[in-house]
Symmetry: C2
Subunit: 314 residues, 2 copies
């Protein structure tokens, strides 16, 4: 697969703009003081479905002609991508078929059903999910929407960084967390095209540091049995995503589970916004390496705000 | 005491404007759908010290001439007013003396000390607090800042509704919670002066319904041993505040403890913002009486976002 071009990103932005919010950018005097620099937070927790994933899923679904969409769309996901595909399919007026593992939180299952999607439960293994999704597609003729390893997903997620740099053109750094790498690759590409002086930093949990290891060794490496509170980042980085990251990312910082929890708590307490653990990974990296960001302008994409309120780590 | 005039409110706004944020107004498609109307949220949880109380305290402290402020300011409070007086005194470059009950959460004590205030702990009774505060004032010559029964406090808190109605001039209703009545009276007065067609609604916990009872009977009534999760609303309405409320408020709605918790959870989950239980009282009143607000434009002042994250009700 080829890297998405700047035109792909611009076209994605035009295509999805009426289905998404151009989310606001917040600042925090407390966090500016801690860092000794200026920090800007692009609040994708305020995005439709509560996460940036709405951008990529909408770009994929709306890139098909209406007559191609008739059989609907399918994916397997326990997280924000499931809600994004469900909502984007509803926006397109077609059916979504979502395969969810049996350990997915009920609140997420309910949210997906709330957008009118048909939910199929399966065993919580990668194989069972893929198999169940394949069966649904055979039965329905739905088109599969991959969560990150797709040029159109990357171009869609890239629109968050595009809005960010258009509103704050003087950023020295931009930080996003990295999981599968849709947002990470899309953001890095965008900066490479429109603001090459802005350095792209990725943030990853130490416990799921596959992208970090791959970035340092130059070849794709995995992590066995990944466990982290940052449940959106448990997947390994995709091949295409990693190829882009290798070329366009300045550095990757890893943070501990405790640093993630502390950063999440800091943002809730001081900024009064609800962010999910995956978003806190980027904030934790900022604070851990504050000497890098002191005296600089740094943008952080707050990726989402979908949290189980009855299972908080504090 | 006389009611604050519109000039008092305007002067307060000019006086405090460089020390406070003109906080943003948010909307939520989910809550609009629930109500069947348009709802606007003025986010004083994003205000300095995390609550609207910063407005009134700043107005009182900055209304003294610099040479009158030299001995500093004192108050007794376990809540947001304590932080507000501490911060406003720091902004004025003078000392704050805060008497806090021994059952005040450590995080709040730390916050007050963080603004450089001197904290005196005392027994958690109204008498002990008043006595300790009196002693501090005798020792230091500090000026006392009352949390709500003060024309200048009311004029200061009134500036939130002023900003709100200037940005959203077509509101049919405005809702605030009522405790001591500084914000409630200030908001009602503002509407009476500049937007008399906007109906002012107050929201109160059923468990602390002194203002409701007083409003219905026409004379000040108390509540014995008030207990509510809405810890900012446990005080009884002030005399001056009630006189204003009687004249300018359209109606008062009471909500149960469960309705408060449900509304708080709804806002955290769907709007991704951290609001304190006292703020949720207004949202609960909106939802409980949604037939009143259907098809209308309603503004709610989200009063604050200071919450003990390790003591959540869900």
């Amino acid at each position: 697969m080829e890297f998405p071009s700047l035109s792909d990103i611009k076209r994605a932005h035009t295509r999805i703009s009426k289905y998404i919010y151009n989310t606001q950018i917040m600042t925090s005097s407390t966090i500016n003081e801690i860092v000794g620099g200026e920090v800007f937070f692009k609040c994708e927790n305020f995005q439709k479905v509560g996460a940036f994933k709405m951008r990529g899923a909408t770009n994929v679904i709306m890139s098909y002609r209406p007559e191609e969409r008739l059989n609907g769309f399918a994916t397997h996901s326990s997280g924000n991508h499931a809600q994004a595909v469900a909502k984007a399919a509803a926006d397109a007026g077609v059916k979504a078929y979502i395969v969810m593992p049996s350990n997915a939180p009920q609140v997420k299952v309910d949210a997906v059903k709330g957008y009118g999607a048909e939910v199929t439960m399966c065993e919580p293994t990668e194989e069972a999910r893929a198999e169940a999704c394949k069966k649904v597609i055979e039965r329905t003729g739905a088109i599969q929407v991959h969560p990150y390893h797709d040029t159109r997903i990357i171009a869609g997620q890239a629109t968050a960084a595009k809005e960010f740099i258009e509103e704050q053109p003087e950023l020295d750094f931009m930080i996003t967390p990295v999981g599968g790498g849709g947002l990470a690759a899309g953001s890095a590409l965008t900066l490479g095209h429109v603001s090459p002086t802005t350095k792209m930093i990725l943030a990853e949990p130490e416990a799921v540091n596959d992208t970090y290891k791959s970035f340092k060794s130059g070849k794709l490496e995995g992590v066995k049995d990944p466990k982290s509170i940052a449940d959106g980042l448990l997947v390994s980085v995709g091949e295409l995503n990693f190829a882009i990251i290798k070329e366009y990312v300045h550095d990757i910082y890893c943070v501990s589970e405790q640093e993630i929890v502390d950063a999440m708590r800091l943002v809730w307490e001081r900024m009064k916004i609800v962010i999910e653990p995956s978003s806190a990974v980027a904030v934790a990296a900022l604070i851990k390496h504050k000497e890098v960001f002191a005296g600089k302008k740094t943008g952080i994409i707050i990726t989402g705000g979908n949290v189980q309120l009855n299972e908080l780590p504090f």
